[in-house]
Symmetry: C2
Subunit: 201 residues, 2 copies
């Protein structure tokens, strides 16, 4: 029996169901007893991009931003979630995620696979205004969730104030206004003791 | 202190976090020990619409379909999830969901609140091609999840074959091809015993 185009598409969609079981570092603001999973996260930041698009001073196609966000963590299905504080210069992880993208999007018919792979690659490269805004939104949500759980993830990964600033200040490259706001939240987290200035090793 | 526009938008986004704790009737295909929540569901069917848009013979704006899907269950935050088999002619529920939409979208600045309320209302009314396709996709996913969990939700709510056909055949009004496929899955579920022809009361 040959697999029809529609069967390939359904197989891809069923495979994506697994993302509901891939847990991230962030805890829910609503229920800090558990972490957020990739499916929840991709929905939440897609809506966030929709709501906050006006703070991107560069012209963007918001529909493309949403596509990037709906797909950006699909690779974690094979490669797992890795903290932003451990991602820097992790070439092994980059390779693993590329292979994951090939395998997962490769479940789709060829044209569609290429289209989705291109969206994922665009997000990863972070060069287009759409990818830069998508990546900013992807950074803002964990900060909010940290703030509303009194810094739970920051404490888990022992992220210091300086590290949080260093990793997230890129938000300001695409949206100075959002970075101003986020910086206030980070500063307030330091003041409230949710985040430490430094960790003594 | 006055609340700025951005603070209102952030308050809305933080409120939406609660949807990660509103559980639906469907179980995960990947892990049938737990039910799917609204946040996961809205992400999954948004991607589904993106992948299956070619099966809509009527011209649609897929970007609007995705907006409807990203927001369609937000009201369940106040009104809870109600099985499609119990929704028919439930005027009290309709009223409750309307009030929920007013409250939740009302957290946003006025213009944005109206825009999102309009998207939710369009989905509910189910009249535009975009809303009809969005509603079809919203019906297809639970059938898939039922199939991959051997009819777990159908058995929970004691839905018979005839009921499942009656509730879902509307898929065919907007996409005969998707309905053909879904009908095969439902028929196969009957053959495999995942779904019963009828329940003896």
């Amino acid at each position: 029996m040959t697999t029809t185009r529609l069967q390939q598409q359904i197989a891809f969609l069923v495979e994506l169901d697994k993302l509901k079981t891939i847990y991230r570092r962030s805890y829910l603001a609503t229920d800090p007893s558990r972490k957020e999973n990739d499916a929840e996260h991709m929905w939440h930041i897609s809506v966030m991009a929709l709501v906050l698009q006006e703070y991107c001073p560069v012209e963007i196609d918001i529909n493309r931003v949403i596509r990037l966000l709906l797909l950006h963590d699909v690779v974690e299905l094979d490669a797992g979630d890795v903290s932003v504080y451990l991602r820097q210069n992790n070439l092994e992880l980059v390779e693993k995620e590329k292979q994951a993208a090939q395998r997962i999007f490769g479940l789709l018919p060829a044209g569609q696979a290429q289209e989705m792979l291109a969206a994922w690659t665009e997000f990863e490269a972070g060069q287009t205004p759409e990818a830069r805004f998508a990546r900013a939104v992807d950074r803002i949500m964990p900060i909010l969730l940290n703030y509303y759980t009194q810094g739970k993830t920051w404490q888990d990964v022992k992220a210091s104030y300086d590290q949080v600033i260093a990793v997230n200040r890129k938000i300001g490259d695409i949206s100075p206004q959002l970075w101003d706001f986020v910086k206030q939240i980070i500063d307030d987290s330091l003041a409230k003791g949710y985040l430490l200035r430094r960790y003594n090793c």
